[in-house]
Amino acid sequence: MGNLIKIAALNLTRYKRRTLLTAMLITLGVMAVLLFVAVSGSFKALMVGQITDSMLGHFQIHRKGYVASIDNLPLNRNLNEQQVQKMKEILAAEPAVASYSLRIKLGAMFSNFSETTNIRLNAVLPEQEAETMPLLAGRILEGDQTGLLNRGEILIPELIAMGMKVKVGDTIVLVATNKEGSVNGQPFVVRGVLEGISGPGGRDGVIHLEDARTLLRMEGVEVSEIAVRLKDIALLPRVAGRIQSELEALTNREGKTVFEVHSWEKLSPFYNIAKMIDLMTFFIKIMLVAIVLVSIMNVMIMAVYERINEIGTIAAIGTRPNRIMALFVFEGFLLGVLGTLIGTGLSLAAIGILNRVRLTFDFGRQAGLVLAPTIGIADVATVILLVIAIAVIASLQPAFKAARMDPITALRHV
């Protein structure tokens, strides 16, 4: 085999310019795919990270029907004390769960004593929330990030801070209506201003859970949602599925299920963008396959046509048809390997440079997001194997033609 590879490599040197041009075409294709996968992958990972680590968690548990009417933030669809206790037991028994955060979601009127506006709020237990949403503190643009917040404090979204001209340390009043229709107001000190990010909950304010209970005059424990963080996001489908099936077994007196489980994909519209990115990656890979297939097939067809007489010679002196076929397949293989190696090397260098340059981009209202492309070994290996496999496949037809050539006809060819 070593001799076949050596002769195939020598054959590629016959027309150096053509070999280089074809290799360059494959190189460009490989670079396009690897860079796209790296850049889009990092964008996706960044966005998914922001969504799961500062807003939604990896999955959430609600009372049945809550998500369908989540725009109204219905207080009458909260989980009660018994249900919350049951959920705590289930989550404590699941080893893949890293942490969870109990939340009350509510809408309120926000007043700075001269103007009033609407605000959506997440009422949380700061320690739980900080553990479950590790990037939330990083979104505090102004104010102290330590400990998230205390009772009597509020984190307000930057749009409201700007629109209502409210600064850190100012006192504001929240007025909310509870589920019985009773209205109550309570003053809060602005602890910090939260960076707004794209997606559900990205422009919500944050208060302490106990403050919400006071504001809403709640008696007993009530929770709107439980955001859950896993030790590894890759475990999400398995763990969410397991908990879902466990919860489906819990029914009320009417025999209906009480809880519902939603992964971040079902809660965030960004999931559709992520799917679109995956689809674009797939189509770019298809284009790469087409480039490799057409360019290698073209070169190999030309190689066979130009060397008909030589094929006749090597067949005449006793080279078996399968060895002749292997010789041409190896030429295509080496061409694929050459283009792929150069393409992979240049792509990894380009990814390294992009990481060093630290390019920034804006997404929605978020400005200055750092583009930090990364690519996994599995993605690189997939592209390398794909290109080499296609190079071999593209060589098969011309190689088969060469192997089947009648030696006499080939020797007569001028």
């Binding site: 002769i7 067949a315 005449a316 002196i317 006793g318 080279t319 078996r320 048809p321 030696p407 020797l411």
Partner: protein, 234 residues
Amino acid sequence: MALVEAVHLEKTYKTGEIETKAIRGVDFTIEPGSFVSFIGPSGSGKSTLLNLIGCLDPPTGGTLTVAGQNIRGLDRRQSADFRGRNIGFVFQDFNLIPVLTVYENVEYPLLMVRRVPPAERKKRVLELLEAVGMTDQVDKYPGQISGGQKQRVAVARALVTNARLVLADEPTANLDRETAGRIIRLMKKMRDEFKTTFIFSTHDPRVVNNAEIIFTIEDGTLRQNSHPEEGFHG
């Protein structure tokens, strides 16, 4: 035992409904170590006969035994293996592989056909290159040597596998008079040294005059001349 034995050998080509009898039931034998020439006008069937003996083309009638093997009924792979073991070829246009050096061209059949171990391969290649007087050109490519030198390399390539039979189709057609003479003398020397049988098809009187046995082919039939002088008066 004859190296080549043909009995009522026939070759007919079919193009649509038209049949062309290229070889019409010829009988001949060639003994090992012979220096044989097939002569005849263009289209008489010389090359066809060489192709049949060379196991490149199957006969359509009669029997043809080469090196004890009836070659009718061999498939492509068996034919290739048989050629690799028994037959060497020398072509009019030399047919060396341009990307391989002189050494590599001679080595090629041992690498790709016979798969001889490296040490033995090197010994055999150098032995043949010395025999044809090309030891000082081993690293040159075919494009860097003369026509006569190319044909010397082709002869070495044909003999490197210890072929029992070398078939040469018009081996001197592209060479000048002096070089052609040297190539013929070289082939004869190789025959004497390696006891290899050489069979030529040729128009060249210099080849014919060096042949020990001459077969004249005309219109697909064969006549054996006992002396070279009877075969060709160029």
